[in-house]
Amino acid sequence: MIRIENVRKQFGSTIALQDLSLQVQAGEIFGLLGPNGAGKSTTMSLLTGLAAPDAGSVRVLGGDPRDAALRARIGLAPQSLALYENLSGRENIEFFARMFGLRGTRLAQRVDVALDFVQLADRQHDRAGTFSGGMQRRLNLAAAIVHEPELILLDEPTAGVDPQSRNALFDNVLALKAAGRTIVYTTHYMEEVERLCDRVAIIDHGRVLAVDTVPALLRAHAPRPLLVIERDDGATRIETDDPLSELNRAAAAGAVRSFHVERPRLEQVFLHLTGRSLRD
């Protein structure tokens, strides 16, 4: 579905991507995880044909994304809410559908489906500027899928939305995967990647640091689970691959008032790979 090989991209003196290679399989949700300035947006620009690599190759759906016909098979929900606030929800979706060549009955049908999909049919005639942040994010998604693309690029699709809208967006993404779509998903939120993505690439400084499923990344890069045992005289923290055996041993040694296990999270992997220094 997507094959990026040894891509280099430079803007002036800034190297955005260097020797970046990725492959995304058809039908999967692929997460792109990285700190600010890691190269996620540049990667998205390459995938939509908005930018060309200085070196290396980018193949999407078997072709060059700068090919106009191929772009008709890609849907993009950009990070910024790329909508017209003075157009109604329906007018926005109709407009973007027309830009992808939809006309007549099919246009009307697809707009209805897209608005239903993001649960905005009842507000379709209200101006987008009157929508809440969550509704605008859902409308942003509807504009990306109205033309039934095979590949959907979601650039931080849940930025600044409430938990209800975020949950609804998760359901939308999973429904799109169930319908056979391939999704590339960039985000800063680890729990989104853990919940949604089949595989994830952690990138930084324009390079891929790790690519795999979340459990495999945890196994490879995260510290072991931490067993925390509390007794009357204080708490003990034990790093172990077998918390149950360790707990039995602790119970035999003395009374345990309470315990819990801290499992490794993707965030630890992320910080482990990208470091703890602040990014601009």
Partner: protein, 430 residues
Amino acid sequence: MSALFAFAAKDIRLLLRNRAALFFTVAWPLLIAVFFGVIFGGGSGTAKPKVALVVQDASAASERFAQSVLKLETLEVDRLDAAAAEQLVRQGKRTAAIVLPEGFGARSTQAFSGDPPEVGLWLDPSRRAERAMIEGMLMKLGAEAMFSNISDPVARQSWLEASRAKLDQIEPGSRQAFSDFYDALDQMMATSQANAKPIPEADGKTDDPAAANTFVPIQIAEREVSVVRRGPRNGFAISFTQGMSWGLFGALMSFVTSLVLERMQGTWSRLRATPLSSASLLLGKALACFIVMLATLLLIGGAGALLFGVVPHSLPKLLLAFVAATFAFTGLMMLLASLGKTVQGASGAAWAVMMPLAMVGGAMIPLFAMPPWMAQLSSVSPVKWAVLAIEGAIWRGFSFAEMATPVAILLATGAVCGLAGAWRITRQPS
């Protein structure tokens, strides 16, 4: 192609929903046009057309007719000799000249035979609206003069005698009917006046359709007078041209802002990710701008013509001027939109560029009122060529050859600026 029109339609719809932009594109230029038109003393010529009266016939009937013309409240009439009248019409200082030629009085004594009295009307061929009004006035005066002949016993006798003397000029089949009619008319008028009853309208009707066709109170002989040196017909002719340039300016600013906003808000990137090329997207934006500017000019021009008497000398030339000016400003819009990355930056650049161009281009000071150095400097401004082309079609009386220079400069400006702007925008990163 339909995606391109959909893009343009979207921009027009957005503009129509933006009240501030709409105000500065249409309402503000109209207000400027009306305000400055009034200051320039605009409306004087519109309510009462100024007309010259030339009396070349020394008869009493001519004098009576002349007096009735001078008393008309709907025209501002002054009596002049033929040369002066023709000169003033040529200079555009009189709408028309009404001429009572020699023989007018003699012909007035004929009722339904021979030629009716002739009135000359010399006027600028472009002034169709005034022509219809003046002709109507003259017909009314002609009918009143005929009625006067009938109702005055002495004049009636003289008029009937002259008419009877020329019965042989009437078609033989109708001759007896006319003779009977004159007798009956004479008898009827004498009886009714003796009884002091109200006098009916002169009807002049006959059962003979052929004879009826010959009845006209006067015959108007028009003569077109080419205007050799035109001036604005009224102050509104100047202020509305300036208003149009402000309308172009308002639409330009709206679309500069809209194009920069597209880039800032991310819709431009999203649109570039569609199958449409950047060139198509820019063409869609330019098309919307072109349509809005042209509609603005038509709206302001229509208001000027219908409400303030700013009637163009030539409608095809005015449309040519509108299209050329719109093309130039659309190209300028594209170039100015490429100068800033933010709305503030781009609109600041647009103001900085357009204000001096407007100031020296005739949008503030009329071109004809500029000192020589300023008039020379104004040639660098596309605003000047837009104003000149529009004025050329409205009141300067330009021929197509004279229109060619400003139109060519405007088209070249639009093409160069548009291509330069498009080149810059497509090179800017998303």
